[in-house]
Amino acid sequence: MDAIGHDVLTIHHLALEDDPRYADNEEYISMTRGLLKAVTIFDLLNLVAAVSEAVGERAGREIYLAYLRSEEHVVLFPPPPGSWEEHVEEVFPDLVRGVDYLGVLIERALETNHDVTRYVTWRREYRGRFRTKVVSPSEALGKT
């Protein structure tokens, strides 16, 4: 099962047609229609922020609830930290590997579901840093 990054979802939900990535992005979204997909809570919350900024608060709230209610999506929530000491200790090994904090949170959420085999994003900096395979929508389509 693929987990989809917030950038891919943002390009789709805001129909950023002028973006050079739009065609492959849409093709990927179409390809996965009807299939079960994952989205981490951190990606979903960032999508809420993007939609809220670009469209408005109501749309941001709407998209959040739509993903929770979706029968095609699993929202991945990692266990909440027991304490800040514990949390810092847990994220530190990944931070020192050069993964940014959002990336660490995303990766930890991905690892809560063993069915997730790929993380689909346009962000290249997670390649080779995530334990989960990271591919772009173009690569997921087998184009590159």
């Binding site: 917030h6 939900h13 950023l16 973006d19 993007a50 670009a54 709407e62 346009w122 772009s136």
Partner: protein, 95 residues
């Protein structure tokens, strides 16, 4: 006098021992007083929760009805698209 009803609930023996200790310390007059306080707190907590917070709690508890897909939700961005791309999708990244 406030209208009251009898509420029969099952709780663990360990939890009840802790409640009894709190009563013994004088924090509550009796078990009923403690349970009333806990229920007031529960109602207050959920009365402050947003629809998103409630939906999240239901989702995590596996009790949120699931149907449809958000894929069809496509919005028209009111802000300049370039700004949105730059901020939220990092235009410097490529396939």
């Amino acid at each position: 006098m406030t209208d009251t009803v009898l509420l029969q609930v099952r709780v663990s023996a360990a939890l009840l021992r802790r409640v009894d200790e709190l009563c013994a310390e004088g924090l509550f007059k009796n078990r009923s007083d403690a349970v009333n306080d806990a229920l007031r707190y529960l109602v207050l907590r959920y009365s402050r929760t947003s629809p998103e917070g409630r939906a999240t709690a239901l989702y995590l508890g596996g009790r949120l009805p699931r149907s449809g897909s958000p894929t069809e939700l496509v919005f028209k961005a009111s802000r300049r698209r370039e700004e949105v791309v730059e901020r939220w999708t990092r235009s410097d990244t490529t396939s």
